[in-house]
């Protein structure tokens, strides 16, 4: 059996500084007691780190990608189509890969025992979606636009409307949970979670794009949101491979 030294393992480059939030970020108060204070130890990328779960078929139910059809009746709110591609930092599509989302209802209320603010639950909306990317890395959900919601982080704090996204990539190094926002939200300026991303351009990449082409007449608006997980370090070996 070959040892890993016989063929170089892929190595995943770090995203540029400022792409990801610091774990210690005072404006988001819950980080105070939950961020590590000791320095991180470097973990070289070996077999366990460059592999990862390839989760796909078998994880999906019939209406998992259509959050408006999971009950007998339709949920309240603005129907939207959310599409995009799951790619790595070199532009490779991540194929047949699980995408998980969760969100509040149109009034900004989550179906969760911990969410008690006085906005009604919607009996026709659970706020949970799953799908697989296709051979081009594309995913698509039909859902309703989530509402903004208050939280107690600071005085009169409101979260901008968002959909939580969870993706795996193909390696442990690429695992990512993020949030998709909507264009021109007036709540961005006071939201510490959105603003925890140091690099302004990186922050903008969490905002979906209104996609007129994908709207459906008399039916739904559309937003486009690509998700990019870490790319690979270029190796001499790969250069040779691409020349073939």
């Amino acid at each position: 059996m070959a040892t890993p030294t016989d063929r170089r393992l892929p190595q995943y480059r770090p995203d540029p500084d400022g792409t990801h939030p610091p774990l210690d970020y005072a404006p988001y108060r819950s980080t105070a007691l939950r961020h590590p204070t000791q320095p991180l130890v470097l973990l070289p990328q070996m077999l366990t780190e460059v592999t990862g779960p390839l989760l796909g078929p078998g994880r999906l139910g019939e209406f998992d990608n259509d959050l408006t059809r999971q009950h007998a009746g339709e949920p309240q709110g603005q129907r939207i189509i959310v599409t995009g591609r799951l790619l790595d930092g070199d532009g490779r599509p991540i194929r047949n890969s699980l995408v998980e989302i969760w969100q509040a209802n149109a009034g900004g209320r989550y179906r969760h025992t911990g969410d008690r603010w006085p906005s009604p639950l919607d009996p026709n909306f659970d706020g949970l979606g799953r799908t697989l990317t296709d051979d081009d890395g594309r995913y698509e959900f039909t859902t309703i636009k989530p509402g903004a919601y208050p939280w107690k982080n600071h005085d009169n704090a409101w979260r901008p409307a968002h959909i939580h996204f969870s993706v795996f990539g193909t390696a442990f190094t690429q695992r990512l949970v993020t949030q998709m926002y909507f264009p021109d939200d007036p709540l961005f300026s006071q939201d510490p979670i959105f603003n925890s991303i140091p690099d302004e351009k990186a922050r903008q990449r969490m905002i979906s794009r209104f996609d007129l082409d994908r709207t459906e007449e008399e039916w739904a608006l559309a937003f486009q949101f690509d998700i990019v997980v870490r790319g690979r370090e270029q190796s001499v070996f790969e250069d040779e491979e691409e020349d073939e």
Binding site: P4, M46, L54, R175, G231
Partner: protein, 183 residues
Amino acid sequence: MRLEGTPSQTVGPYLSIGLPWDDGPFVVPEGTEGAVWIRGGVYDGAGNPVPDAMIETWQADPDGGFDHPDDPRGKPADPFRGFGRCPTDDQGQYRILTLLPGVVPDASGAPQARHIDVSVFARGLLNRVVTRIYFEDQDNAGDAVLASVPVERRDTLLAKKDGDGYRFDVRLQGEGETVFFAV
């Protein structure tokens, strides 16, 4: 082509709407011969349990193989999910049923000690934190990653024998803070 990465955001307090699966904690089905429970809690800097966290595990099969195209040693004979996930409960506790991972070589071909890679997500964590589970009753001598950890903190990476399995607590901050890795 180079694309810029999408930033990480917290899972927030309501991760349990979207992320748990009924079979998430079961890397192997109950009743599997040799299966062990790994149980533990997630604690914050005040020592309080974190009830809105989630643990994910990724590991080799008992022979040290991965069912993955980037494992140059080829496909293992028996498919093994290798992946577990469990949200913490009201008391901040999680559990994963799995088989002990086999020995996996490092980049030089030298054996690593048996280990499981772990991601921890929670409200208040803007990005996941990554750690590794090693096992106190296994041969951990000569593991390069463990050796790179300050000696007085290595114990935080060792799962302790406990009943029908092991206990592995995650302390996010403060006294006995778990070693977290940059990967």
